[in-house]
Amino acid sequence: MSSTAWAWLVLLLPLLGSLVVALGFRALPARVAGAIGTASIGLAFACAVAVLIGLLGEDPESRHHASSLYEYASAGGLDIELGIYVDQLSAFMILVVTGVSALIHLYSYGYMRSDEGYHRFFSYLNFFVFSMLLLVLAGNFVLLIVGWAFVGFASYALISFWYRRTTATAAGMKAFVINVVGDIGLVLAAFLIFQQLGSFDYETVFETAPQVFESNQWEVTAICLLLLVGAFAKSAQIPFHTWLPDAMEGPTPVSSLIHAATMVTAGVYLIARSHELFYLAPTAADIAAFVGLATLLVAGTIAIAMTDLKRAIAYSTMSQIGYMIMGVSIGAYAAGLFHLMTHAFFKALLFMAAGSIIAAMANRQDIDRMSGFWKAMRFTSLMLLVGGLALAAFPLTSGFFSKDSILAYAEARGGMYLWMAVGGYVGAFLTAIYTFRLIFRVLPGRPCEEAQHLIETGELYHGPAINPANEEREDAEVGFPGPAHHIAEQSRPMAVAMAVLGFGALFGGLVQVPGVTNVLFGFLEPAFHDSPLAEVHPSVAHEWRGLAIGAAISLLGIGAAWLLWVRRPELPGLFRERLRPAYLLALHKWYFDEAIDLLVVRPALAVGRFANDVFERVVVDGLVSGTAGGVRGAGGIVRLVQSGFVRGYALLLVAGFAGLALYFLVVSA
C-alpha cells in the first residue's frame, strides 16, 4: 500500500471510532466504548507509522504525495478536491498527534472511568483526533479550514464537557468565539490566496507564490497576517490567548490532549506549512516572531503568580508555544517542530500528573492547599518531576535539546534575532522558576489533609462535590464530574500512559543531539528546502555553547525556585510586598481580560444595545408595524363593501356594469 493509502486510513479510523462510540452508546458497555475509542487511535498510530515507513523507502527529495478521493467543487477556475497531502511535515504531525492521542486515550480510559458521560467523552475525543488529523493532512486550504473549524468545535464541546457547570460552559463559549475570530482570519487569507494565485491547492500555491509575489509585496504580507490571526487564535498567542487558561475548565485529559499537546500547536503547523509565503513576507514573519517572544515572556511571568495548578501549566503551554511560533517564524522550522514534539510529550505528561493530583485533592486545583504528595503518590510525583525537568530544560532531557535548537538558530541568524535568543533565554529562566515553583509546593513538605488521608487509608479523599471555581454545589448526575476520581497509582492504564510519555519526555531529545544524532532534522529538512532560511545552520560548537548556556540557566532557575519556595519560604511574601505592582500585574494576567473587555466586548455590547434599542425598535419595528398598519387600514375600508347584504352585492354588480356600459357609450360616441 502506498503511503497516501495509509494516510487515508489514519484519517478514517478515528472517525469510525467516534461514530461507533456515539451511535452505539446504548448498546456498548462503557468499558467497551473506551476500548474502541482507544484502539481506533492506537490503530491510527500504527497506520501513521506505516506512512512513515513508506516515506522512508523513498528518495528524500521526492517524499511528497498528493492524493484525492473526489472532486468537491470544480467551476470557473475553482478546483476543490477532497485531497490530502503527505510529506515529511504532515507525516511528522500525524505521528505526534496519533501517538500522544493514543496515550491520552489510554489515560482517559482509567481517569474518566466514573464519569456518567463516558461514551460522549470518547466520541468527542475521537472526533477531535479525526479533526486534528484532517487539519494536518489536508491537501488544500479549504480542507484545512474544515479541519480547523472541526477542532474548534471539538475543543468547545470538550471544554464544556461538564455542561452543567456554569463556569465550564462559559469557558467553552469564550474559546469558541475567540477561535471563530481566528477562523475568519484564515478564511479571508484563503480568499486572498485564491484571488492572487488562482488555487487553493498547497502544491500549486507554494509553487506559484514565488513567481507571483515580490518580497514584502503588500498582498502576500496581508495573506500572512491573516494566516497569523488564525494561528494566534488557535495557538493562544497574544492578544488571542485569554481563552486557553479558561479552557482548563474541561476534564484534565482534554487539557492534556487538546490544550497542550496537539490542537494549540496547529498555529505552528500552519506557519511551517506556509513557510514559502512567510519567506516572501519577512515583515509578517518578524511580527509573528515578536508576538511569539512577547507571549513566551508574558505567559512566563503570569505562570509564576498563578495559584491554580492547571492554569499555571496552561500559561506554561502558551509560553512554550511562543517558542515554537518564534522558531518557525524566524526560519528554524525543524527546530520549532522538534520543540512541538518534545513539548507534546512533557506537557501531556505534566497534565496527566496534575490530573492525578487533582483527583487526589477531590477536584481542588489550588496549589496553596497542596503539599507533601511525594509521600502520598510516589509514581505521580515522579512523573510530575520528570515532566517538570523536561519543561525546565534540565540538561539531557528532551526540552533541553529542543528549546536550545530554536535559540541556537536565532543566534546563528544574528542581528535582531540574537536579541530574540536573549529573550528566549530569559523565558527559559522564567520557565525553570515557575515549573519548580509548582513542584516544590506540591511534592515536598508535610502532607496536606488530602494527602494524609491517602497515606493512612489508601483511599482517595472525598470532599463535598463542589465546583472549585465558584463553590457551587454539584451532584453525581451526568454533566458534573461525579464523586469518584482515579489516580495513576490505582489505575494501570493511566500509569502505563504516563510511563511511556515519561520515557519520551526524558529521552525524546536524543533523536537530535547536535553533532551526534540528526534523525529528526535529517527527516524534516527536505520539506523546507525551498526556503533559503532553512540553509542557515548553527555550527555544532555554537550549538553546544548554547546548550551549555541553557543548562546553566535551567539549573540557575531551579536553584532560584528552590531558594524561594524551599530554603527561604518567607522570601516570596517579601517579594510580593516589595514588588507589589509587578506582582499584581502578573496576578491579574497583565490585565488582558480587562483590556479585551474594555476594547472589544464593551464596544460590541454598546453597538448591540444601540442596534436593539434604536435600529431594531424604531427602524425595523417601525417598518414592519407600519406595513401591518397600512394593510389593516386599507382592509378596513374594503371591509365596508362586504356588508353581507346579497342585494348590496347585486347593486354593486349592476352599478359596475352600468358604469362600464356608460364608459363604452361615451368612448364610442
Binding site: G644, F645, A650
Partner: protein
Amino acid sequence: MSIEWYVVLSSLLFATGAVGILIRRSPIVILLCLELMLNAGNLALIAFSRMAGNEEGQIFALVVMVVAACEVVVGLGLIVAIFRRKLPLDVDALRELRG
C-alpha cells in the same frame, strides 16, 4: 319590424329583473327576477341571431337556458335548505358573510 323594438323590450325586461333583485327581499322572488334577466338576454340573443341570419345566437340561448335551469336547481335547493333550518326567508336577515 326593426331590431330596436326587440332590444328595447329586452332592456326593459332586464331592467325590471335588476330592479326586482335590488328591491325585493324574498329569495324566491329574487330567483324569479334572475330568470327574467336571463331571458331578457336570451331575447336579445335570438333577435340579433335572426337579424344576422345565422344560428349562433340561438345556440347561445339554448346554453343560457341550460345554465338557467342549473341555477334554479341550486337556488331552489338553497331556499329549501334555508326553510328546513327554520331560518327567515329574507335575504337581508341572512348576512353571515359580512366582512
